[in-house]
């Protein structure tokens, strides 16, 4: 990780090559627990993006004064500050979503993606790069949350975007799609085992895609050699 990493490279790493949810497998507890509907996943994803960007910026800005011996407690303090702010914001403006997310909103403080980025990237990089990195990893994590939430909601309840009014206000009430009306759905997908199976399916799909791309690359290279 050099200083010359372009923003595009940082973005691509966070979203795909080092995706926290699918490759690093960090922050699995909130990822598995809250992804039972698309809206819940989106809500927690947005909160995580906010916290990870703010933390990365502040850690990067203070990196000169953060001595190695006490850097971790300071990281945790910074993260806890932002998580508390986000939680209070959420309680003030999206109270129903706050109820739906429950304990997992304050638990963002233990999300190791955030501590991991602060330690591995933000504490050694410029502020702008740290912001880009936070955005990339936050978006990557949120994308997995949304994909898994959508998948589980679709299979488990046969709907999409149910409860959108929690996040978007009364406008969102009409957004929820009943794709398979009146079906109970495969309840297993909405329950905890469904989270593990669903995440495994997403990881397998990503691996398959990566491998196919690598094979295609190898074929092209071999063709170019011959």
């Amino acid at each position: 990780m050099s200083d010359t990493d372009s923003f595009a490279q940082i973005l691509r790493r966070g979203l795909w090559h080092e995706n926290p949810g699918l490759v690093q497998l960090l922050g699995l507890c909130p990822l598995l627990a809250v992804s039972n509907t698309l809206v819940n996943g989106l809500g927690l994803g947005l909160a995580t993006i906010l916290v990870i960007c703010a933390t990365n910026v502040l850690v990067s800005a203070c990196r000169r004064w953060l001595h190695d011996d006490f850097r971790l407690p300071v990281f945790v303090l910074i993260i806890a500050t932002f998580v508390t702010s986000v939680e209070l914001l959420c309680r003030a403006f999206w109270f129903d979503l706050h109820l739906a997310l429950g304990i997992f909103l304050p638990l963002i403080v233990t999300n190791c993606v955030i501590l991991g980025r602060a330690e591995a990237f933000a504490s050694r990089q410029r502020v702008s790069a740290a912001l880009a990195d936070g955005l990339a990893h936050g978006l990557g994590f949120a994308a997995v949350l949304i994909a898994l939430g959508g998948l589980r909601e679709l299979v488990g309840q046969g709907s999409l975007l149910a409860g959108a009014e929690l996040l978007f206000g009364p406008v969102g009430r009409g957004w929820s799609l009943e794709l398979v009306p009146q079906s109970g759905g495969l309840l297993l997908a909405a329950l905890p085992p469904g989270a593990f199976i669903g995440l495994a399916v997403l990881i397998a799909a990503r691996n398959a895609l990566t491998r196919r791309r690598a094979n295609a690359g190898r074929v092209t290279a071999a063709a170019a050699d011959s």
Binding site: G184, L186, L187, L188, A189, L191, P193, I197
Partner: protein, 349 residues
């Protein structure tokens, strides 16, 4: 002149996978006939749906994995999984419920783990649990047993077929009129209503030990299991350990509190205890490989079954107990490995 020597094994038993699986199927025939006698033709429809789904899923999974489909389909393992699953499901089950279970069992529990021989969890039980968790309402279609003095009519083969295909009964038949709670469900709900076991036992659904009809099916399952024991397809350790542990715990509980805890006879002859002891816990892949391990696995399944039945929220805990113990089997096998001949015991190494 080159003298070639093949590598071991030099002496093979005739018991290949298809042979063993076929014997398991033969051993289940008496129990299936008894089920049809007591609960109607529904189980046959379940069997057909489950077997067809399992075979189709097996073929697709093998194809996706780039394996030849022929040997995989011909080894009967998918059929055994499907049959065991179908025997756990109530006779009145809509086809999509059965098909979901069979598909989950073969695709997720078996092939995602690497296929026959690599699956950590018993496929039939994993499929059953997937259905139990996904469709909690769909698994109550047990007709009243065909005993004679119970007023509920057993649905005919046409009505059952209609239910299997559509999930609804034809005409004016209502599900409530022909189905009855299983003995385990009855005990669970009535104990919840502060009735004592003596009062519950006067319910016409109960026979000498377990539910009427159920206890006879259990006998025929045990008959098939005994034949497997004689043929040495399964070993005695797992079933005996499971039944003894379950009966022992039930006996202790019964002595302490006969009003609230059913006795050993009820636990052994209700629901799928016998099926689990002889056909599910003894699965050569997901059960223990060592003899001491088989004893531990059987005892653990028996104990967990009693605990879940008595204090859990589900009426029957066999499937959960089997899956929980399946997870521990690799560890159990590791610690019960027999001493290698000619070497000192592991404690002295």
């Amino acid at each position: 002149m080159p003298l070639t020597t093949g590598s071991a094994p030099f002496w093979r038993t005739p018991d290949t996978v298809p042979v063993i699986m076929r014997h398991v199927l033969y051993a289940l025939v008496p129990a299936i006939i008894a089920s049809v006698w007591f609960f109607g033709i529904g189980i046959v429809y379940n069997l057909i749906v489950a077997v067809v789904t399992a075979l189709v899923t097996e073929a697709i999974a093998l194809r996706l994995r780039g394996r030849p489909a022929g040997p995989g389909l011909a080894d009967y393992s998918a059929i055994v999984t499907a049959v065991l699953l179908a025997m756990c499901l109530p006779p009145l089950t809509a086809w999509w419920v059965t098909a979901t279970g069979a598909c989950f069992a073969v695709a997720v529990a078996k092939h995602l783990y690497g296929g026959l021989g690599f699956n950590l969890f018993n496929p039939a039980m994993a499929g059953y649990v997937a259905v139990l968790v996904s469709f909690p309402d769909a698994l109550s279609g047990w007709p009243a047993p065909n005993i004679g003095d119970l007023d509920a009519p057993i649905p005919g083969s046409g009505a059952t077929l209609w239910f299997t295909l559509t999930g609804q009964l034809p005409g004016d038949l209502s599900l409530d009129a022909i189905t009855r709670a299983t003995p385990l469900d009855t005990v669970k709900t009535e104990l919840g209503m502060m009735r004592t076991m003596d009062e519950i036992g006067t319910n016409p659904l109960f026979g000498d030990f377990g539910g009427r009809g159920w206890e006879w099916i259990a006998n025929f399952v045990a008959l098939g299991g005994g034949w497997l024991l004689i043929r040495r397809i399964i070993r005695w350790q797992t079933p005996v350990a499971m039944l003894v542990t379950l009966a022992g715990m039930a006996a202790v509980g019964y002595l302490f509190d006969p009003a609230r805890l059913p006795g050993p006879g009820f636990h052994l002859f209700s629901s799928g205890t016998m099926l689990c002891a002889f056909f599910i816990a003894t699965d050569p892949v997901t059960g223990a490989a060592t003899n001491r391990g088989k004893l531990i696995v059987g005892a653990a399944i028996g104990a967990l079954t009693y605990v879940i039945r008595t204090w859990g929220s589900y009426a029957d805990g066999i499937a959960f107990a089997v899956l929980l113990v399946n997870m521990a089997v690799p560890l159990i096998d590791r610690y019960t490995r027999p001493r290698v001949y000619g070497r000192p015991p592991r404690s002295q190494q």
